[in-house]
């Protein structure tokens, strides 16, 4: 068996293992541990889906959590207990008051809504580059939050929605996580992924070679947003309550840190980053008690700066954890794919 084949088998085993652990957790684990397992899966989904845009295409978007918010609210509205709807949403029309959707449908709907928003906002946003795009996407985050705060009849404003049925189980989350990782891996190793890499390396040259920039950037953006939306739905049905303040810059920063430290462009890096940077601070908080939430955030910031200085490509760079060595040549997985955006400031540390 070739090294590559071994890798594939290994990954499928890991995926099966994740599902098995999820099932085991549901059957007998302590509720708190179950929560931890579920949250970590959620972060995996968020980070891997963000990697598709930030890592593969090199578009540094900070608006990912905005899409999560859209998915959360839409799916929550879809599954909200009928008995409580008149009290919570007194002004919404009759058809809404009697329409409750099954959980999977609600999740898909949330993802679809987020994808739609991405498609619309992508047109102006994706014309920007670099820092401009980062800030534009951050503005998107604020806009989504402000809309959630102001559209009282639908979102109940700052008060948020409580009483969302808590339907999320570790199985749901990890099943979706496996799907996201699979999709990302397929993209990365496909022709589509190759084109995304070309756009990342030099979008002017890519356009000159006939690559339809808008179409490809948009596709990646929409796929990424879809999964963020699904993650939002999963989150809403895990915590049981959502409010505009949940989908904040703080959460954005957390996900970005996981992504960068894991390695922009590396899927396994994202998984490792997500798990590691969720469980470690959580353990810290549990040991130290309440009030240290700020401390872990502070440490994350310091660690991030240190990583930027000493290991600018994160733990894994663009490579994947694999038995096969990284191949030479162009493409997101190879050596030439290791450069990050910024043609005027080449990074000598890139392998």
């Amino acid at each position: 068996m070739t090294r590559e084949r071994l890798d594939t088998v290994l990954y499928w085993l890991l995926a099966a293992g994740a599902i098995a652990v999820a099932l085991w957790a549901q059957a007998g684990w302590n509720n708190y541990a179950v929560r931890l397992l579920t949250y970590s899966g959620l972060y995996v989904i968020l980070v891997v889906s963000l990697n598709i845009v930030n890592g593969f295409v090199g578009i540094f978007s900070l608006g990912h959590i905005g899409f999560m918010a859209v998915g959360a609210y839409v799916s929550a509205l879809a599954t909200y207990p009928l008995a409580r709807r008149p009290a919570t949403f007194p002004t919404l029309p009759e058809w809404f008051q009697s329409l409750a959707l099954p959980y999977p449908v609600a999740l898909l709907l949330g993802g679809a809504a987020a994808a739609l928003v991405a498609a619309v906002i992508g047109f102006p946003l994706l014309r920007l580059r670099g820092h401009y795009l980062a800030l534009g996407s951050l503005a998107l985050l604020v806009i989504v939050e402000q809309l959630a705060v102001n559209l009282h009849p639908v979102t109940r404003g700052s008060r948020g929605l409580a009483g969302i049925p808590m339907l999320t189980t570790p199985l749901w989350v990890w099943a979706v996580a496996v799907v996201v990782v699979y999709v990302a891996a397929r993209i990365k190793s496909s022709g589509f992924g190759l084109l995304l890499g070309a756009i990342r390396l030099d979008d002017v040259a890519a356009a000159a070679s006939g690559v339809r920039l808008t179409r490809y950037k948009m596709s990646a953006f929409v796929v990424s947003a879809f999964f963020a939306g699904v993650a939002g739905g999963l989150w809403a049905h895990l915590v049981g309550v959502i409010a505009p303040s949940v989908f904040s810059y703080d959460l954005t920063f957390r996900v970005i840190v996981m992504l960068i430290i894991g390695g922009l462009g590396s899927i396994t890096g994202s998984v490792v980053g997500a798990l590691g940077l969720f469980l470690l601070p959580e353990a810290f908080t549990y040991l130290e008690g309440a009030g240290t939430h700020g401390l872990s955030q502070l440490l994350l910031a310091v660690v991030l700066v240190l990583v930027m200085i000493f290991r600018p490509n994160g733990l894994l760079g663009r490579r994947e954890l694999s038995l096969a060595r990284a191949r030479d040549g162009a493409g997101p997985g190879g050596r030439l794919g290791a450069r990050t955006t910024g043609a005027d400031r080449p990074n000598p540390d890139d392998a």
Binding site: N31, R35, V241, V246, A290
Partner: protein, 377 residues
């Protein structure tokens, strides 16, 4: 063989010893925006537990209070509630002074079958919305809004008013609704000259002030439906802008922030709350003395007393139930009759979990929070 058996038996001995403690959860936003009322609440609760333990405990066992901080964040709060119920295995949870947070955390306790004694949140529909394991210690917003409006009309001679409310909380929206309702009932629809709103956390109210100033005739009173963190700011800015009319509010104004931030501009502020800490009532005096002895300063506001009462309510239920089983506690709570506490007497009418209590009106004068009246709706 014998050694193995002993090792097996040893944990069985320890477990009953460890269980000789009744664990009560204290769920508060000790840090964050709500801390000015939640931290005192937690203090009050822990004080009550300490006093109970000093006089023999409950059912021969010591009470242990486990406090988990919600950090004024709904997600954190829900996680904290889950920790209390699933990890710390408490038999009852008490706490929370804000209705939005009560709505967020309540379902966790309800699903786990653990009684949730809401210390200070006042939305009258809370127990209905959360479920039969939720009980309220304070009166509902309807009671307190009616009380302050009645006071304003009867004692201050108010005939017209301006309403400013916060859009961010169930509590402030409810108070606005009930206050408007009472004003309309008693003075007719024309009493409301202008209504305006803001979002909690706004630093600048100059737009609202400008709109108020543009009114042809100034109102007799300004009603501010707000939460504690904005109270001081609101009073300061409106007073600085030259508005001298009485300012009215509900228990969201029961915070030291008003005097701390607005200083002597806070004269003429009136609000409804759960008790006056300067009252002569022996129970109040006893509580204030005990609080000061324990924490080195008098209780900051009525929410400290409410936390204290929440613990006492649970203790009373446990005694009557003769057991620390959550379901038994719940049933005993539902039967509470004529229980005299610092903030009033608690009786739950059959099927209701909101008590009928008297409302205290406080006025701020010269930096002091002075008792004005006690109104029973």
């Amino acid at each position: 063989m014998l050694r193995r058996a002993l090792i097996f038996l040893l944990p069985m001995l320890i477990v009953p010893l460890a269980a000789a403690q009744i664990r009560i959860g204290s769920l508060y936003n000790v840090t964050g925006d709500m801390s000015s009322i939640d931290a005192p609440g937690n203090n009050g609760l822990r004080l009550a537990a300490k006093l109970i333990n000093e006089s023999g405990g409950l059912l021969g066992q010591q009470v242990e209070v486990v406090t988990v901080d919600g950090q004024t964040d709904q997600t954190q709060l829900t996680n904290a509630a889950s920790r209390l119920v699933n990890v710390e295995n408490v038999v009852a949870v008490a706490g929370i002074n804000d209705s939005t947070f009560a709505l967020a955390a309540g379902p966790v306790m309800q699903a786990a079958g653990v009684p949730f004694v809401i210390a200070g949140a006042t939305l009258p529909t809370l127990p209905e919305q959360i479920g039969d394991y939720a009980f309220m210690v304070p009166f509902g917003d309807d009671a307190q809004s009616f009380a302050i409006v009645d006071f304003a009309i009867d004692q201050l001679g108010v005939e017209t008013y301006y309403m400013l409310y916060d859009q961010a909380y169930d509590f402030t929206l409810a108070v606005r609704e009930f206050a408007n309702q009472r004003f309309a009932e008693r003075l007719g629809a024309g009493a409301l000259l202008l209504e305006d709103s803001y979002q909690s956390g706004d630093a600048d109210f100059s737009s609202q002030i400008a709109r108020l100033r543009a009114l042809p005739t100034p109102p007799d009173a300004i009603f501010m439906s707000s939460v504690p963190s904005d109270a001081g700011n609101l009073v300061q800015q409106f007073r600085e802008a030259g508005f001298d009319q009485p300012i009215l509010s509900a228990d969201g104004f029961d915070t030291p922030l008003i005097v701390e931030v607005a200083g002597d501009l806070s004269d003429g502020v009136y609000f409804s709350t759960h008790t006056s800490l300067s009252s002569d009532d022996p129970q109040v005096r006893e509580f204030v003395a005990a609080y000061e002895a324990e924490y080195g300063h008098p209780p900051e506001n009525a929410f400290a007393a409410l936390g204290y009462d929440a613990m006492m309510l649970i203790a009373d239920a446990i005694r009557r139930a003769g057991s620390a089983d959550p379901a038994a506690i719940r049933d005993a709570l539902a039967d509470t009759q004529g229980l005299d506490l610092v903030t009033g007497t608690i009786t739950y009418a059959p099927g209701s979990r909101v008590p009928t209590k008297s409302v205290t009106i406080i006025g701020v004068q010269g930096g002091e929070y002075l008792f004005q009246a006690e109104v029973t709706p």
